[in-house]
Protein backbone atom coordinates (compact mmCIF):
# COMPACT_ATOMS: atom_id res chain seq x y z
CA UNK A 1 0.00 0.00 0.00
CA UNK A 2 1.48 3.31 -1.07
CA UNK A 3 1.15 6.79 0.33
CA UNK A 4 -1.52 7.89 -2.11
CA UNK A 5 -3.74 4.79 -2.23
CA UNK A 6 -6.12 6.19 0.30
CA UNK A 7 -6.50 9.50 -1.53
CA UNK A 8 -8.21 7.41 -4.17
CA UNK A 9 -10.11 5.10 -1.83
CA UNK A 10 -11.33 7.90 0.45
CA UNK A 11 -12.58 10.88 -1.51
CA UNK A 12 -14.39 13.89 -0.11
CA UNK A 13 -17.80 12.68 -1.23
CA UNK A 14 -17.41 8.91 -1.57
CA UNK A 15 -15.37 5.97 -0.33
CA UNK A 16 -14.42 2.71 -1.99
CA UNK A 17 -16.00 -0.61 -1.01
CA UNK A 18 -12.55 -2.17 -0.58
CA UNK A 19 -12.27 -0.35 2.76
CA UNK A 20 -14.87 -2.81 4.02
CA UNK A 21 -14.01 -5.94 2.08
CA UNK A 22 -10.26 -6.15 1.46
CA UNK A 23 -8.48 -8.42 3.99
CA UNK A 24 -5.15 -6.75 3.25
CA UNK A 25 -6.52 -3.32 4.10
CA UNK A 26 -7.97 -4.79 7.26
CA UNK A 27 -4.66 -6.21 8.41
CA UNK A 28 -2.92 -2.91 7.63
CA UNK A 29 -5.55 -1.07 9.71
CA UNK A 30 -4.77 -3.20 12.74
CA UNK A 31 -1.36 -1.50 12.87
CA UNK A 32 -1.78 1.89 11.20
CA UNK A 33 -5.12 2.70 12.85
CA UNK A 34 -5.44 0.59 16.00
CA UNK A 35 -1.87 0.11 17.17
CA UNK A 36 -0.91 3.67 16.22
CA UNK A 37 -3.88 5.42 17.89
CA UNK A 38 -4.87 5.76 21.52
CA UNK A 39 -7.38 2.96 22.12
CA UNK A 40 -9.61 2.51 25.13
CA UNK A 41 -8.55 -0.58 27.09
CA UNK A 42 -10.61 -0.36 30.26
CA UNK A 43 -11.70 1.67 33.25
CA UNK A 44 -9.60 2.09 36.38
CA UNK A 45 -12.54 1.08 38.58
CA UNK A 46 -12.32 -2.43 37.11
CA UNK A 47 -8.91 -2.99 38.70
CA UNK A 48 -9.08 -1.30 42.14
CA UNK A 49 -6.45 -3.43 43.97
CA UNK A 50 -2.81 -4.23 43.30
CA UNK A 51 -2.65 -7.33 41.08
CA UNK A 52 -6.14 -6.86 39.63
CA UNK A 53 -6.16 -7.32 35.90
CA UNK A 54 -8.35 -7.49 32.88
CA UNK A 55 -7.66 -8.61 29.34
CA UNK A 56 -8.85 -7.22 26.01
CA UNK A 57 -7.55 -6.75 22.49
CA UNK A 58 -6.06 -3.80 20.68
CA UNK A 59 -6.00 -4.24 16.91
CA UNK A 60 -6.14 -8.06 17.38
CA UNK A 61 -3.24 -7.94 19.83
CA UNK A 62 -3.99 -9.60 23.17
CA UNK A 63 -3.57 -6.96 25.84
CA UNK A 64 -3.45 -7.06 29.63
CA UNK A 65 -4.34 -4.13 31.89
CA UNK A 66 -3.02 -4.49 35.44
CA UNK A 67 -2.83 -2.54 38.68
CA UNK A 68 0.76 -2.55 39.89
CA UNK A 69 1.97 -2.72 43.48
CA UNK A 70 2.67 1.01 43.30
CA UNK A 71 -0.97 1.66 42.38
CA UNK A 72 -0.17 2.61 38.79
CA UNK A 73 -2.00 1.12 35.83
CA UNK A 74 0.08 -0.91 33.36
CA UNK A 75 -0.98 -1.93 29.90
CA UNK A 76 1.04 -4.88 28.62
CA UNK A 77 1.10 -7.16 25.63
CA UNK A 78 -0.39 -10.43 26.86
CA UNK A 79 2.32 -12.40 25.10
CA UNK A 80 5.04 -14.41 26.78
CA UNK A 81 8.59 -13.26 25.99
CA UNK A 82 9.63 -16.91 25.68
CA UNK A 83 7.70 -18.50 22.86
CA UNK A 84 4.72 -16.20 22.61
CA UNK A 85 1.98 -17.87 24.66
CA UNK A 86 -0.90 -15.69 25.83
CA UNK A 87 -0.06 -15.49 29.51
CA UNK A 88 -3.35 -14.44 31.17
CA UNK A 89 -6.23 -16.51 29.81
CA UNK A 90 -9.10 -15.16 31.90
CA UNK A 91 -11.13 -12.05 31.12
CA UNK A 92 -10.28 -10.69 34.56
CA UNK A 93 -8.81 -11.66 37.87
CA UNK A 94 -6.24 -10.85 40.51
CA UNK A 95 -2.69 -12.19 40.48
CA UNK A 96 0.49 -11.40 42.39
CA UNK A 97 2.42 -13.06 39.61
CA UNK A 98 1.55 -14.02 36.07
CA UNK A 99 2.89 -17.48 35.40
CA UNK A 100 2.98 -18.53 31.78
CA UNK A 101 1.15 -21.87 31.53
CA UNK A 102 3.55 -23.24 28.87
CA UNK A 103 6.98 -23.33 30.58
CA UNK A 104 6.42 -21.38 33.74
CA UNK A 105 8.13 -18.05 33.07
CA UNK A 106 6.84 -15.70 35.73
CA UNK A 107 6.09 -11.98 35.51
CA UNK A 108 5.06 -9.24 37.94
CA UNK A 109 1.91 -7.18 37.33
CA UNK A 110 4.30 -4.57 35.92
CA UNK A 111 5.38 -7.12 33.31
CA UNK A 112 8.87 -7.72 34.69
CA UNK A 113 10.23 -11.26 34.30
CA UNK A 114 11.15 -12.55 37.76
CA UNK A 115 11.52 -16.30 37.36
CA UNK A 116 12.50 -18.83 34.74
CA UNK A 117 12.25 -22.47 35.87
CA UNK A 118 15.43 -24.44 35.18
CA UNK A 119 17.31 -21.21 34.61
CA UNK A 120 20.78 -22.61 33.98
CA UNK A 121 20.88 -21.47 30.36
CA UNK A 122 19.68 -17.96 31.08
CA UNK A 123 22.21 -15.44 32.31
CA UNK A 124 20.76 -13.00 34.82
CA UNK A 125 21.17 -10.04 32.48
CA UNK A 126 18.63 -11.60 30.10
CA UNK A 127 15.82 -11.09 32.57
CA UNK A 128 15.64 -7.34 31.98
CA UNK A 129 15.37 -7.87 28.24
CA UNK A 130 12.65 -10.48 28.56
CA UNK A 131 9.76 -8.51 30.04
CA UNK A 132 6.23 -8.49 28.69
CA UNK A 133 5.92 -5.81 26.00
CA UNK A 134 4.53 -2.53 27.33
CA UNK A 135 2.19 -0.09 25.72
CA UNK A 136 2.21 3.60 26.40
CA UNK A 137 -0.75 4.07 28.75
CA UNK A 138 -2.54 7.11 30.08
CA UNK A 139 -5.86 7.68 31.78
CA UNK A 140 -8.30 10.46 31.59
CA UNK A 141 -10.60 10.62 34.64
CA UNK A 142 -10.58 6.85 35.04
CA UNK A 143 -10.70 5.90 31.36
CA UNK A 144 -7.52 4.07 30.42
CA UNK A 145 -6.15 4.37 26.90
CA UNK A 146 -3.07 2.74 25.44
CA UNK A 147 -1.06 2.87 22.25
CA UNK A 148 1.89 1.24 20.52
CA UNK A 149 2.64 4.45 18.61
CA UNK A 150 6.37 5.12 18.99
CA UNK A 151 5.80 8.85 19.47
CA UNK A 152 2.16 9.45 20.43
CA UNK A 153 0.78 12.88 21.13
CA UNK A 154 -0.27 13.32 24.75
CA UNK A 155 -3.68 11.73 25.48
CA UNK A 156 -5.34 15.05 26.30
CA UNK A 157 -4.11 16.60 23.07
CA UNK A 158 -5.42 13.61 21.15
CA UNK A 159 -8.80 13.94 22.88
CA UNK A 160 -8.90 17.62 21.93
CA UNK A 161 -12.41 19.06 21.71
CA UNK A 162 -13.83 15.66 22.61
CA UNK A 163 -12.67 16.26 26.17
CA UNK A 164 -15.49 18.67 26.77
CA UNK A 165 -18.11 16.07 25.81
CA UNK A 166 -16.36 13.40 27.88
CA UNK A 167 -16.35 15.75 30.88
CA UNK A 168 -20.06 16.40 30.41
CA UNK A 169 -20.79 12.67 30.38
CA UNK A 170 -18.69 12.06 33.49
CA UNK A 171 -19.82 15.14 35.41
CA UNK A 172 -23.52 14.35 35.18
CA UNK A 173 -22.80 11.52 37.60
CA UNK A 174 -22.86 12.64 41.25
CA UNK A 175 -19.27 13.08 42.42
CA UNK A 176 -18.09 12.57 38.83
CA UNK A 177 -18.20 8.84 39.57
CA UNK A 178 -19.01 6.39 36.83
CA UNK A 179 -18.05 2.73 36.60
CA UNK A 180 -18.66 -0.09 34.12
CA UNK A 181 -20.67 -2.90 35.76
CA UNK A 182 -19.31 -6.46 35.97
CA UNK A 183 -18.77 -7.92 32.56
CA UNK A 184 -19.96 -6.86 29.12
CA UNK A 185 -22.43 -8.30 26.70
CA UNK A 186 -20.59 -9.42 23.57
CA UNK A 187 -22.43 -8.99 20.28
CA UNK A 188 -20.91 -10.01 16.97
CA UNK A 189 -21.89 -9.07 13.47
CA UNK A 190 -20.78 -10.29 10.07
CA UNK A 191 -19.48 -6.93 8.92
CA UNK A 192 -16.49 -4.61 8.93
CA UNK A 193 -15.75 -2.64 12.11
CA UNK A 194 -16.14 0.71 10.30
CA UNK A 195 -19.83 0.01 9.79
CA UNK A 196 -20.36 0.61 13.49
CA UNK A 197 -18.34 3.79 13.15
CA UNK A 198 -20.35 5.00 10.15
CA UNK A 199 -23.47 4.41 12.22
CA UNK A 200 -22.39 6.02 15.49
CA UNK A 201 -23.03 9.59 14.32
CA UNK A 202 -25.68 8.78 11.74
CA UNK A 203 -28.65 10.90 12.78
CA UNK A 204 -30.84 9.94 9.84
CA UNK A 205 -31.02 6.18 10.20
CA UNK A 206 -33.11 6.34 13.38
CA UNK A 207 -36.15 7.34 11.36
CA UNK A 208 -35.92 4.32 9.08
CA UNK A 209 -33.82 1.61 10.67
CA UNK A 210 -35.34 2.18 14.13
CA UNK A 211 -38.89 2.61 12.91
CA UNK A 212 -40.11 -0.26 15.08
CA UNK A 213 -38.57 1.27 18.20
CA UNK A 214 -40.49 4.45 17.57
CA UNK A 215 -43.66 2.43 16.95
CA UNK A 216 -43.35 0.87 20.43
CA UNK A 217 -43.19 4.43 21.79
CA UNK A 218 -46.24 5.54 19.82
CA UNK A 219 -48.27 2.64 21.19
CA UNK A 220 -48.02 4.23 24.63
CA UNK A 221 -47.90 7.90 23.57
CA UNK A 222 -44.21 8.26 24.22
CA UNK A 223 -42.09 10.19 21.77
CA UNK A 224 -38.78 8.35 21.87
CA UNK A 225 -35.57 10.29 21.34
CA UNK A 226 -35.29 8.69 17.91
CA UNK A 227 -38.77 9.70 16.79
CA UNK A 228 -37.90 13.37 16.11
CA UNK A 229 -38.04 14.63 12.54
CA UNK A 230 -34.36 14.54 11.54
CA UNK A 231 -34.90 17.34 9.01
CA UNK A 232 -36.13 19.88 11.54
CA UNK A 233 -34.81 18.82 14.94
CA UNK A 234 -32.31 21.20 16.55
CA UNK A 235 -30.09 18.24 17.43
CA UNK A 236 -26.54 18.69 16.13
CA UNK A 237 -23.81 16.42 14.95
CA UNK A 238 -20.15 17.37 15.16
CA UNK A 239 -17.04 16.03 13.56
CA UNK A 240 -14.02 16.69 15.74
CA UNK A 241 -10.33 16.32 15.08
CA UNK A 242 -8.71 12.86 15.10
CA UNK A 243 -11.88 11.14 13.90
CA UNK A 244 -13.87 11.80 17.07
CA UNK A 245 -17.58 12.53 16.66
CA UNK A 246 -20.44 13.90 18.73
CA UNK A 247 -24.21 13.79 18.30
CA UNK A 248 -25.87 16.17 20.72
CA UNK A 249 -29.51 15.14 21.03
CA UNK A 250 -30.22 17.37 24.02
CA UNK A 251 -31.49 20.39 22.07
CA UNK A 252 -34.13 18.15 20.46
CA UNK A 253 -35.66 16.89 23.71
CA UNK A 254 -36.66 19.95 25.74
CA UNK A 255 -38.61 17.84 28.28
CA UNK A 256 -35.41 15.99 29.16
CA UNK A 257 -34.26 12.42 28.59
CA UNK A 258 -36.58 10.68 31.07
CA UNK A 259 -39.63 11.90 29.15
CA UNK A 260 -38.47 9.93 26.11
CA UNK A 261 -38.59 6.57 27.93
CA UNK A 262 -41.40 4.07 27.81
CA UNK A 263 -42.38 2.15 30.91
CA UNK A 264 -39.53 -0.22 31.46
CA UNK A 265 -40.12 -3.16 33.84
CA UNK A 266 -40.43 -2.21 37.52
CA UNK A 267 -40.18 1.47 36.68
CA UNK A 268 -43.08 2.82 38.72
CA UNK A 269 -42.13 1.73 42.27
CA UNK A 270 -38.54 2.88 41.81
CA UNK A 271 -39.62 6.17 40.26
CA UNK A 272 -42.06 6.83 43.14
CA UNK A 273 -39.39 6.08 45.68
CA UNK A 274 -37.01 8.61 44.11
CA UNK A 275 -39.80 11.19 43.96
CA UNK A 276 -40.71 10.54 47.61
CA UNK A 277 -37.10 11.09 48.62
CA UNK A 278 -37.07 14.40 46.73
CA UNK A 279 -34.74 12.98 44.10
CA UNK A 280 -37.19 13.00 41.21
CA UNK A 281 -34.97 15.38 39.26
CA UNK A 282 -32.29 12.69 39.20
CA UNK A 283 -34.43 10.47 36.94
CA UNK A 284 -32.71 11.79 33.83
CA UNK A 285 -29.62 10.00 35.14
CA UNK A 286 -31.39 6.70 34.58
CA UNK A 287 -31.17 7.32 30.84
CA UNK A 288 -28.10 8.21 28.81
CA UNK A 289 -26.70 11.71 28.59
CA UNK A 290 -28.21 12.12 25.11
CA UNK A 291 -24.76 13.27 24.12
CA UNK A 292 -23.33 10.48 21.97
CA UNK A 293 -19.56 10.62 21.85
CA UNK A 294 -17.30 8.48 19.68
CA UNK A 295 -13.56 8.40 20.35
CA UNK A 296 -11.88 7.02 17.26
CA UNK A 297 -11.16 4.19 16.75
CA UNK A 298 -12.77 2.04 19.44
CA UNK A 299 -14.94 3.73 22.09
CA UNK A 300 -18.52 4.92 21.66
CA UNK A 301 -20.64 6.43 24.45
CA UNK A 302 -24.31 5.84 23.74
CA UNK A 303 -27.06 5.68 26.33
CA UNK A 304 -25.37 4.50 29.50
CA UNK A 305 -23.27 2.11 27.47
CA UNK A 306 -19.61 2.11 26.72
CA UNK A 307 -19.57 0.42 23.37
CA UNK A 308 -16.12 -0.93 22.58
CA UNK A 309 -15.54 -1.84 18.95
CA UNK A 310 -13.33 -4.91 18.53
CA UNK A 311 -12.40 -5.82 14.96
CA UNK A 312 -12.11 -9.59 14.47
CA UNK A 313 -11.76 -9.98 10.69
CA UNK A 314 -12.46 -7.82 7.64
CA UNK A 315 -16.08 -8.99 7.75
CA UNK A 316 -16.47 -9.73 11.44
CA UNK A 317 -16.70 -7.42 14.44
CA UNK A 318 -17.36 -7.89 18.11
CA UNK A 319 -19.03 -5.16 20.15
CA UNK A 320 -18.43 -5.08 23.88
CA UNK A 321 -21.42 -3.47 25.57
CA UNK A 322 -20.49 -2.24 29.03
CA UNK A 323 -23.27 -0.77 31.11
CA UNK A 324 -22.07 2.03 33.36
CA UNK A 325 -23.35 2.61 36.88
CA UNK A 326 -23.61 5.82 38.86
CA UNK A 327 -22.12 4.82 42.24
CA UNK A 328 -22.74 8.29 43.72
CA UNK A 329 -26.48 8.32 42.93
CA UNK A 330 -29.31 6.70 44.92
CA UNK A 331 -29.56 2.93 44.29
CA UNK A 332 -32.78 3.33 42.32
CA UNK A 333 -30.84 5.00 39.49
CA UNK A 334 -28.71 1.94 38.76
CA UNK A 335 -31.73 -0.34 39.22
CA UNK A 336 -33.53 1.70 36.56
CA UNK A 337 -30.45 1.88 34.35
CA UNK A 338 -30.38 -1.90 34.07
CA UNK A 339 -33.88 -2.04 32.64
CA UNK A 340 -33.59 1.17 30.59
CA UNK A 341 -30.44 -0.14 28.96
CA UNK A 342 -32.12 -3.40 27.94
CA UNK A 343 -34.79 -1.43 26.16
CA UNK A 344 -32.62 -0.22 23.29
CA UNK A 345 -30.37 -3.28 23.30
CA UNK A 346 -33.46 -5.41 22.66
CA UNK A 347 -35.58 -3.21 20.43
CA UNK A 348 -33.02 -0.98 18.71
CA UNK A 349 -29.61 -2.63 18.54
CA UNK A 350 -30.93 -5.61 16.52
CA UNK A 351 -31.86 -3.12 13.76
CA UNK A 352 -28.33 -1.76 13.68
CA UNK A 353 -26.79 -5.24 13.64
CA UNK A 354 -29.04 -6.21 10.78
CA UNK A 355 -28.16 -3.07 8.79
CA UNK A 356 -24.44 -3.74 9.28
CA UNK A 357 -24.81 -7.25 7.90
CA UNK A 358 -26.98 -6.09 5.02
CA UNK A 359 -24.43 -3.41 4.08
CA UNK A 360 -21.60 -5.93 4.23
CA UNK A 361 -23.49 -8.25 1.89
CA UNK A 362 -24.25 -5.37 -0.47
CA UNK A 363 -20.64 -4.25 -0.51
CA UNK A 364 -19.71 -7.68 -1.81
CA UNK A 365 -20.88 -6.55 -5.25
CA UNK A 366 -17.63 -5.82 -7.15
CA UNK A 367 -19.34 -3.98 -10.00
CA UNK A 368 -20.61 -1.28 -7.64
CA UNK A 369 -17.45 0.26 -6.25
CA UNK A 370 -18.48 3.37 -4.39
CA UNK A 371 -20.23 4.30 -1.18
CA UNK A 372 -21.85 7.71 -1.32
CA UNK A 373 -21.13 9.98 1.64
CA UNK A 374 -22.03 13.35 0.19
CA UNK A 375 -25.05 14.30 2.27
CA UNK A 376 -24.65 17.79 3.68
CA UNK A 377 -21.77 18.87 1.41
CA UNK A 378 -20.18 21.35 1.21
CA UNK A 379 -18.83 21.56 4.76
CA UNK A 380 -18.25 25.20 5.60
CA UNK A 381 -14.65 26.18 4.91
CA UNK A 382 -13.95 27.91 8.22
CA UNK A 383 -15.06 24.87 10.16
CA UNK A 384 -13.00 22.55 8.04
CA UNK A 385 -9.87 24.57 8.76
CA UNK A 386 -10.39 24.36 12.51
CA UNK A 387 -10.77 20.61 12.08
CA UNK A 388 -14.32 20.52 13.39
CA UNK A 389 -17.57 20.61 11.48
CA UNK A 390 -20.99 20.90 13.04
CA UNK A 391 -24.31 20.63 11.32
CA UNK A 392 -27.76 19.09 11.32
CA UNK A 393 -27.91 15.40 12.21
CA UNK A 394 -28.78 14.57 8.60
CA UNK A 395 -25.29 15.62 7.49
CA UNK A 396 -22.68 12.97 6.75
CA UNK A 397 -19.91 15.34 7.81
CA UNK A 398 -18.90 13.15 10.81
CA UNK A 399 -18.47 10.12 8.52
CA UNK A 400 -16.50 12.14 5.98
CA UNK A 401 -14.23 13.64 8.61
CA UNK A 402 -13.44 10.45 10.48
CA UNK A 403 -12.68 8.73 7.18
CA UNK A 404 -10.40 11.63 6.17
CA UNK A 405 -8.54 11.12 9.44
CA UNK A 406 -8.47 7.38 8.76
CA UNK A 407 -6.99 8.00 5.29
CA UNK A 408 -4.25 10.15 6.82
CA UNK A 409 -3.35 7.34 9.23
CA UNK A 410 -3.35 4.79 6.41
CA UNK A 411 -1.33 6.98 4.02
CA UNK A 412 1.30 8.02 6.57
CA UNK A 413 2.00 5.05 8.81
CA UNK A 414 3.35 5.95 12.22
CA UNK A 415 6.07 3.76 13.67
CA UNK A 416 4.77 1.35 16.31
CA UNK A 417 6.74 -0.48 18.96
CA UNK A 418 6.43 -2.24 22.29
CA UNK A 419 8.26 -0.55 25.16
Amino acid sequence: MTASDFDHLVQPHRVHRRLYTDPQIFSTEMTRVFAASWCYVGHESEIPEAGDYRTTTLGLRPVLMTRGRDGAVNVLLNRCAHRGTVVAGEARGCAKRFVCPYHGWTYTPEGRLVAIPFPADHPAEDYAKLSLGRLEAASYRGFVFATLNAAPEPLEVWLGEAREALDTIIDRHPGGELAPMGSPQLLEFAGNWKLSWDNAADGLHATFAHHSYNTLGEMVDTETVLARDPGSTPMVSKALRNGHMVVDQRPGIPQGPWATMRNVPFREPLESRLAAAGDGDLLDLATGSMLNLSLFPNLIFVGNQLLVVEPVAVDRTRLQLWLTSAPGAPDEIDLLRLRVDEDFVNFGTPDDLDMFERVQRGLGVPEMEWIDMSRGLPDSAGDAEAGTVSGPITSEAPQRRYLAHYARLMNNPAATRAR
Binding site: M181, Q185, L186, L187, P269, R273, L338, E342, P350
Partner: protein, 190 residues
Amino acid sequence: MTKALESAVDSASAAVLARYDELAALLATMGDRPRCDPDLSAVATAALLHEARLLDAGRFEEWLGGWTDDAVLWVPLSAPAHPGRDQSLLLDDRRRLAERVEWRRDPAAWGQQPPSLTARVVGGVEAWPAPGGGLVARSSLLIEEHRHGRRQQLAGYQVHELVGDDLRRRTKILVVAALGTGVRNPSFLL
Protein backbone atom coordinates in the same frame (compact mmCIF):
# COMPACT_ATOMS: atom_id res chain seq x y z
CA MET B 1 -46.54 12.89 51.29
CA THR B 2 -48.34 11.18 54.17
CA LYS B 3 -46.64 8.53 56.31
CA ALA B 4 -49.00 5.88 54.97
CA LEU B 5 -48.22 6.78 51.39
CA GLU B 6 -44.52 6.84 52.13
CA SER B 7 -44.52 3.34 53.55
CA ALA B 8 -46.58 2.11 50.59
CA VAL B 9 -43.91 3.53 48.28
CA ASP B 10 -41.15 1.90 50.32
CA SER B 11 -42.79 -1.49 50.32
CA ALA B 12 -43.45 -1.32 46.57
CA SER B 13 -39.79 -0.72 45.84
CA ALA B 14 -38.77 -3.33 48.40
CA ALA B 15 -40.97 -5.77 46.47
CA VAL B 16 -38.89 -5.12 43.34
CA LEU B 17 -35.71 -5.98 45.19
CA ALA B 18 -37.32 -9.02 46.76
CA ARG B 19 -38.30 -10.34 43.32
CA TYR B 20 -34.76 -9.72 42.06
CA ASP B 21 -33.28 -11.55 45.06
CA GLU B 22 -35.70 -14.41 44.49
CA LEU B 23 -34.56 -14.72 40.86
CA ALA B 24 -30.87 -14.60 41.79
CA ALA B 25 -31.37 -17.23 44.50
CA LEU B 26 -33.35 -19.52 42.22
CA LEU B 27 -30.51 -19.45 39.70
CA ALA B 28 -27.71 -19.72 42.25
CA THR B 29 -29.13 -22.75 44.06
CA MET B 30 -30.08 -24.76 40.98
CA GLY B 31 -26.96 -26.94 41.13
CA ASP B 32 -27.54 -27.86 44.79
CA ARG B 33 -30.95 -29.42 44.34
CA PRO B 34 -31.47 -33.08 45.22
CA ARG B 35 -32.51 -35.66 42.67
CA CYS B 36 -35.69 -34.59 40.88
CA ASP B 37 -39.22 -35.84 41.34
CA PRO B 38 -39.78 -38.17 38.33
CA ASP B 39 -43.56 -37.75 38.16
CA LEU B 40 -43.35 -33.98 38.41
CA SER B 41 -40.57 -34.02 35.81
CA ALA B 42 -42.85 -35.78 33.36
CA VAL B 43 -45.51 -33.13 33.94
CA ALA B 44 -42.94 -30.36 33.46
CA THR B 45 -41.61 -31.97 30.30
CA ALA B 46 -45.00 -31.77 28.63
CA ALA B 47 -45.24 -28.05 29.48
CA LEU B 48 -41.72 -27.24 28.32
CA LEU B 49 -42.04 -29.11 25.05
CA HIS B 50 -45.30 -27.31 24.40
CA GLU B 51 -43.63 -23.95 25.01
CA ALA B 52 -40.73 -24.82 22.69
CA ARG B 53 -43.19 -25.88 20.00
CA LEU B 54 -45.11 -22.57 20.26
CA LEU B 55 -41.90 -20.52 20.04
CA ASP B 56 -40.47 -22.45 17.10
CA ALA B 57 -43.79 -22.07 15.28
CA GLY B 58 -43.88 -18.31 15.94
CA ARG B 59 -47.14 -18.59 17.88
CA PHE B 60 -46.11 -15.78 20.20
CA GLU B 61 -49.61 -14.60 21.18
CA GLU B 62 -50.49 -18.06 22.47
CA TRP B 63 -47.17 -18.21 24.23
CA LEU B 64 -47.84 -14.82 25.85
CA GLY B 65 -51.15 -16.14 27.15
CA GLY B 66 -49.30 -18.79 29.17
CA TRP B 67 -47.70 -16.34 31.61
CA THR B 68 -48.94 -15.12 34.99
CA ASP B 69 -49.54 -11.41 35.66
CA ASP B 70 -46.44 -11.21 37.84
CA ALA B 71 -44.34 -12.99 35.21
CA VAL B 72 -40.62 -12.43 34.73
CA LEU B 73 -38.53 -13.64 31.83
CA TRP B 74 -34.88 -13.12 32.67
CA VAL B 75 -31.89 -13.72 30.38
CA PRO B 76 -28.70 -13.01 32.34
CA LEU B 77 -25.33 -12.82 30.58
CA SER B 78 -23.92 -15.62 32.73
CA ALA B 79 -24.65 -17.51 35.93
CA PRO B 80 -24.66 -16.81 38.80
CA ALA B 81 -25.99 -13.29 38.36
CA HIS B 82 -28.27 -10.78 40.05
CA PRO B 83 -30.90 -8.83 38.08
CA GLY B 84 -30.31 -5.72 40.18
CA ARG B 85 -26.53 -5.73 40.01
CA ASP B 86 -25.45 -7.30 36.74
CA GLN B 87 -26.19 -6.40 33.18
CA SER B 88 -28.62 -8.84 31.57
CA LEU B 89 -29.72 -9.31 28.00
CA LEU B 90 -33.25 -8.76 29.22
CA LEU B 91 -35.54 -8.89 32.19
CA ASP B 92 -39.14 -8.61 31.06
CA ASP B 93 -42.26 -8.18 33.09
CA ARG B 94 -45.64 -8.99 31.59
CA ARG B 95 -45.87 -5.52 30.01
CA ARG B 96 -42.60 -5.81 28.16
CA LEU B 97 -43.34 -9.40 27.14
CA ALA B 98 -46.45 -8.02 25.42
CA GLU B 99 -44.35 -5.33 23.72
CA ARG B 100 -41.93 -7.99 22.57
CA VAL B 101 -44.73 -9.90 20.90
CA GLU B 102 -45.92 -6.69 19.18
CA TRP B 103 -42.35 -6.06 18.08
CA ARG B 104 -42.09 -9.54 16.57
CA ARG B 105 -45.13 -8.72 14.45
CA ASP B 106 -43.83 -5.35 13.21
CA PRO B 107 -42.72 -5.68 9.57
CA ALA B 108 -40.16 -2.90 10.19
CA ALA B 109 -38.48 -4.63 13.17
CA TRP B 110 -35.42 -5.36 11.06
CA GLY B 111 -33.64 -7.42 13.68
CA GLN B 112 -36.31 -10.11 13.22
CA GLN B 113 -37.52 -9.34 9.68
CA PRO B 114 -37.22 -11.76 8.09
CA PRO B 115 -37.71 -13.80 11.27
CA SER B 116 -35.23 -16.36 12.50
CA LEU B 117 -36.13 -19.98 11.90
CA THR B 118 -35.46 -21.84 15.09
CA ALA B 119 -35.45 -25.42 16.31
CA ARG B 120 -35.28 -25.89 20.06
CA VAL B 121 -34.19 -29.16 21.61
CA VAL B 122 -35.30 -29.40 25.22
CA GLY B 123 -33.85 -32.23 27.21
CA GLY B 124 -32.83 -33.45 30.63
CA VAL B 125 -35.92 -32.04 32.32
CA GLU B 126 -35.77 -32.20 36.11
CA ALA B 127 -38.55 -30.84 38.33
CA TRP B 128 -39.19 -30.31 42.00
CA PRO B 129 -42.20 -29.05 43.94
CA ALA B 130 -42.05 -25.28 44.48
CA PRO B 131 -42.52 -23.88 48.00
CA GLY B 132 -45.56 -21.76 47.04
CA GLY B 133 -47.24 -24.59 45.07
CA GLY B 134 -46.46 -25.39 41.48
CA LEU B 135 -43.08 -26.64 40.35
CA VAL B 136 -39.57 -25.56 39.49
CA ALA B 137 -37.94 -27.19 36.48
CA ARG B 138 -34.46 -27.13 35.03
CA SER B 139 -33.85 -28.30 31.49
CA SER B 140 -31.05 -28.26 28.94
CA LEU B 141 -31.68 -26.28 25.82
CA LEU B 142 -30.11 -26.29 22.40
CA ILE B 143 -31.36 -23.76 19.86
CA GLU B 144 -30.42 -23.87 16.23
CA GLU B 145 -31.17 -20.62 14.46
CA HIS B 146 -31.21 -19.90 10.72
CA ARG B 147 -31.36 -16.40 9.34
CA HIS B 148 -30.04 -14.61 6.23
CA GLY B 149 -28.53 -17.89 5.06
CA ARG B 150 -26.43 -18.27 8.20
CA ARG B 151 -26.90 -20.50 11.18
CA GLN B 152 -25.86 -20.32 14.79
CA GLN B 153 -26.27 -22.84 17.51
CA LEU B 154 -26.71 -21.73 21.10
CA ALA B 155 -26.50 -24.04 24.06
CA GLY B 156 -27.63 -23.41 27.59
CA TYR B 157 -30.25 -24.27 30.13
CA GLN B 158 -33.49 -22.88 31.37
CA VAL B 159 -35.18 -22.66 34.73
CA HIS B 160 -38.96 -22.45 34.89
CA GLU B 161 -41.31 -21.78 37.73
CA LEU B 162 -44.75 -23.03 36.69
CA VAL B 163 -47.80 -22.36 38.85
CA GLY B 164 -51.50 -23.24 39.03
CA ASP B 165 -53.44 -26.11 37.51
CA ASP B 166 -52.60 -24.94 34.01
CA LEU B 167 -48.88 -24.58 34.86
CA ARG B 168 -48.57 -20.93 33.90
CA ARG B 169 -45.07 -19.54 33.62
CA ARG B 170 -44.36 -17.21 36.55
CA THR B 171 -40.59 -17.26 36.08
CA LYS B 172 -38.31 -18.28 33.29
CA ILE B 173 -34.55 -17.88 33.38
CA LEU B 174 -32.63 -18.59 30.22
CA VAL B 175 -28.87 -19.06 30.56
CA VAL B 176 -27.03 -18.99 27.24
CA ALA B 177 -23.26 -19.23 27.44
CA ALA B 178 -22.61 -17.34 24.20
CA LEU B 179 -24.09 -14.09 25.56
CA GLY B 180 -20.92 -13.62 27.56
CA THR B 181 -18.55 -14.81 24.86
CA GLY B 182 -19.99 -13.50 21.60
CA VAL B 183 -23.37 -14.04 20.01
CA ARG B 184 -24.90 -12.81 16.77
CA ASN B 185 -28.14 -10.81 16.95
CA PRO B 186 -29.85 -12.67 19.82
CA SER B 187 -33.27 -11.04 19.33
CA PHE B 188 -34.91 -14.41 18.59
CA LEU B 189 -34.28 -15.54 22.17
CA LEU B 190 -37.43 -15.97 24.25
